[in-house]
């Protein structure tokens, strides 16, 4: 576009163009991320209900939130879902990655099959599992047809168990992803370490447990971050699979926020619950980001 004769100094345009080009994205982020966080924070301190209202209410909405049994069910469910989902997806994913690392034939095809659920929407996954787990015609009937006539599987409609169906579907969708991350990590490990340990007479499981997996600590850490992040944000899967039900037995904070703010006309409480979610994520992500950015600057 512009041409320059002197190579050494950049002209006025070259000095300001980068800033100018970055400006729209920077401004959008400033307004729609940081500005909106402040705005939502402000809403959480007002008396807003069906419509926004900027009358100061102090911590009243937070008091209402913390007195709400449904919120605590959602928090407890997030804890149950989060720990089982992360633990389960990690275990299955790492196990498959280690197996696939044994120079197997058709590795590419197997990898493709293990990972395709990640391309699906959680709504699709939820709809499919809702059909398979439904007590009338799904899995329960299948096992009964096999002769186990006393078999029951009613988790989907059982308030005590409904959150565990979300765990099942979540692990199915995300474990292939863990496999891909760990397989990439395993491929980065120097083969000679493993060979040396084999010569020393160490068994294969022992080599993986003592040498290979500890070397994958960074991968483990990033995967943990990503899964924790998926868990806290999880909304679609719960909506499609259980809708938060039966009753509100499988609510998580994301579905709680949606229904309080948008369908039950308690905007202030919804805003307060969103702030609680943000603070939870920030408590995990900010130290992580800080160490990542510092690390990349130093090395």
């Amino acid at each position: 576009m512009t041409s320059y004769n002197g190579p050494a100094q950049y002209g006025f345009a070259e000095r300001w163009l980068p800033r100018l080009v970055l400006a729209p994205s920077f401004l959008l982020t400033l307004v729609f991320v940081y500005g909106f966080i402040l705005w939502n924070g402000y809403l959480s301190f007002t008396t807003s209900r069906l419509l926004p209202n900027y009358e100061w209410a102090g911590l009243a909405q937070y008091t209402t939130l913390f007195a709400n049994e449904r919120w605590w069910v959602a928090v407890k469910n997030l804890f149950i879902f989060g720990s089982l989902f992360i633990g389960g997806a990690m275990a299955v994913g790492i196990f498959l990655a280690v197996l696939l690392d044994q120079k197997v034939r058709q590795e590419g095809a197997l990898r493709t099959l293990y990972l395709y659920p990640m391309a699906l929407s959680f709504i699709v996954t939820g709809t499919a599992w809702k059909w398979m787990l439904n007590p009338g015609l799904g899995l329960e009937k299948l096992v009964q047809d096999w002769g186990f006539t006393n078999f029951t599987f009613d988790w989907l409609v059982n308030p005590d168990m409904s959150i565990y169906t979300v765990v099942i579907a979540g692990i199915w969708q995300s474990s292939g992803f863990v496999m891909a991350l760990f397989l990439a990590g395993l491929r980065g490990i120097d083969d000679s370490i493993i060979k040396a340990a084999q010569i020393d007479g160490a068994s294969l499981p022992r080599i993986y447990w003592k040498i290979v997996l500890p070397a994958l600590r960074p991968v483990f850490f990033s995967t943990l971050m990503i899964l924790a992040h998926i868990a806290i944000k999880s909304f679609d899967l719960v909506m499609a699979l259980t809708g938060g039900g039966p009753g509100f037995s499988s609510d998580v904070p994301a579905t709680f926020m949606y229904s309080t703010a948008f369908t039950r006309g308690q905007m202030g409480v919804g805003a307060a619950s969103a702030m609680m979610m943000l603070m939870t994520v920030a408590a995990i992500v900010v130290p992580y980001l800080y160490s990542e950015l510092r690390g990349s600057r130093n090395g």
Partner: protein, 285 residues
């Protein structure tokens, strides 16, 4: 030793195949259920092969199934998603490419801080922006419209597209840029003549990543659209949760496959780039 080794390989393949069946079974069940009649579904079981194949459920899911009070099938939602996903993917990818170029090759005082500020947007739980965004879209007359959804997806897509491109461009040697500058090339010329021609892999990764993310999004769709602007995920959820007297699982499954088809096709054709996108997020840039 040799025999034991053989046994171990057999066990290994058995477990791997078993795992493949575990991942494929839901897809198999969706596909077979969608071509069965409801009578057959009630009489048979979950994993039985269909005795006679009928595409009635597919036709119904596409054109006449009820999604709430309306009964027009998923076709309308599908086209909404197409109209939403194309501009949103193109705009967010373009912005990400330019941002990544500046943040890696034209650093200035404060550019690292800018990057950190943008990067945080990858992580925020979107619940925290829903209420202000709903209000703002209303002010701009974009509430409940496909245009509003495009805007939201662009704004909240910038963080990840910028991250992808920035991390990729960091790997392009600075010497190339310096040499081009010595030849008298400016900011845009270097971008279009030097950087962009080297960007095909990352452009593929970001296009596919954004396409999958935006096509599969449900949260923004359900909050910021209504009636005739809703995307496919909302349509599918409405269809599957509409309480009619008889639950038609075959129609639900056909609808779920219709909603999943575009991303599955992309995955089959360009899975390599999809996987690269997934892992790139976790690998330090």
């Amino acid at each position: 030793m040799d025999n034991q080794n053989k046994l171990w390989r057999v066990a290994l393949y058995a477990v791997l195949v078993y795992a493949a069946v575990y991942y494929l079974l839901p897809l198999y069940i969706m596909a077979t259920t969608s071509v069965k009649s409801m009578d057959e579904i009630r009489a048979g079981n979950l994993i039985a092969l269909p005795m006679s194949i009928t595409f009635d459920a597919w036709g119904k899911a596409w054109a006449t199934a009820c999604t709430g009070v309306e009964c027009g099938g998923l076709s309308r939602y599908f086209w909404n998603s197409v109209q939403m996903v194309i501009p949103a993917v193109l705009i967010s990818t373009t912005l990400g490419a330019i941002n990544g170029y500046v943040l890696s090759k034209w650093r200035f005082r404060g550019s690292e801080l800018t990057f950190a500020l943008i990067l945080f947007g990858v992580f925020i739980p979107f619940q925290v922006v829903l209420l202000p965004m709903a209000q703002t879209l209303g002010w701009f007359g974009m509430a409940r419209s496909v245009a509003g959804l495009v805007f939201v997806h662009v704004v909240f897509g910038i963080a990840s597209t910028t991250l992808f491109f920035r991390n990729y461009y960091v790997g392009i040697p600075d010497e190339l840029i310096k040499a081009a500058r010595l030849d008298g090339a400016g900011f845009w010329r270097i971008f279009f003549k030097v950087v962009l021609p080297m960007s095909t892999p990352i452009v593929m990764v970001v296009l596919i990543w954004q396409f999958t993310q935006i096509w599969n999004d449900f949260l923004f769709g359900v909050v910021f659209s209504s009636g005739d602007s809703q995307p496919i995920t909302v349509g599918l959820n409405n269809l599957a949760n509409t309480s009619t007297s008889v639950k038609e699982y075959n129609v639900d499954m056909a609808a779920a496959i219709i909603a999943a088809l575009p991303t599955i096709i992309v995955y089959v054709l360009a899975g390599k780039y999809f996987v690269r996108g997934l892992t790139a997020g976790a690998v330090k840039g």
